[in-house]
Amino acid sequence: DVKVTQSSRYLVKRTGEKVFLECVQDMDHENMFWYRQDPGLGLRLIYFSYDVKMKEKGDIPEGYSVSREKKERFSLILESASTNQTSMYLCASSSGGRTGELFFGEGSRLTVL
């Protein structure tokens, strides 16, 4: 069974802390994505990566960075967490091409106090 695994389902952090969200996929997919999901705003793309060490900004990259050192792993980093980054974070992967569906992880619910 194909799988995208997010390291933490629930996290509580304090304002100013550095936060790492890890995502691993076992499908040898080229593309990986980080979205955040907020009520009333739907899914918004933060960053995506189409190859190892390659990344591109999505719609809302401010306050975030990413790292992809290995094909299977895509990390989202909040350098200095703020309360407005409290959200559900979803990682996804896909095999290249516009016809390929996304495979999502279970999500990481981050609360910043």
């Binding site: 994505f33 899914l43 189409y50 896909s94 516009r98 999500g107």
Partner: protein
């Protein structure tokens, strides 16, 4: 601008009745269209997609969707709803300006509630 719209925030259906979740799109060229479902506190799961060919697409859990080019719609349907179908449903389309699936445009989501 490329977009998808889900005009209903919430759809309520009695168990056993047919259900429809609506999606319309505005995409240049031939669209590729997707439906995803999100159960409570879970990530999204792929349900079905339209790429080309038959306008009626069958997917997981008994769902199907009909592509209608003249109405620019891709409504999700099921002949007989189950309580377990209660979830959040997203219509999505890849941005045609990208060669990979890197820019996916999601609708705002429709919450489907099936009452026993």
């Amino acid at each position: 601008a490329q977009s998808v719209a889900q005009p209903e925030d919430q759809v309520n259906v009695a168990e056993g009745n047919p259900l429809t979740v609506k999606c319309t799109y505005s995409v240049s060229g031939n669209p590729y269209l997707f439906w995803y479902v999100q159960y409570p506190n879970r990530g999204l799961q792929f349900l079905l997609k339209y790429i080309t060919g038959d306008n009626l697409v069958k997917g997981s859990y008994g769902f199907e969707a009909e592509f209608n080019k003249s109405q620019t719609s891709f409504h999700l349907k099921k002949p007989s709803a189950l309580v377990s179908d209660s979830a959040l449903y997203f219509c999505a389309v890849p941005h045609p300006g990208y060669s990979s699936a890197s820019k996916i445009i999601f609708g705002s989501g429709t919450r489907l509630s099936i009452r026993p």
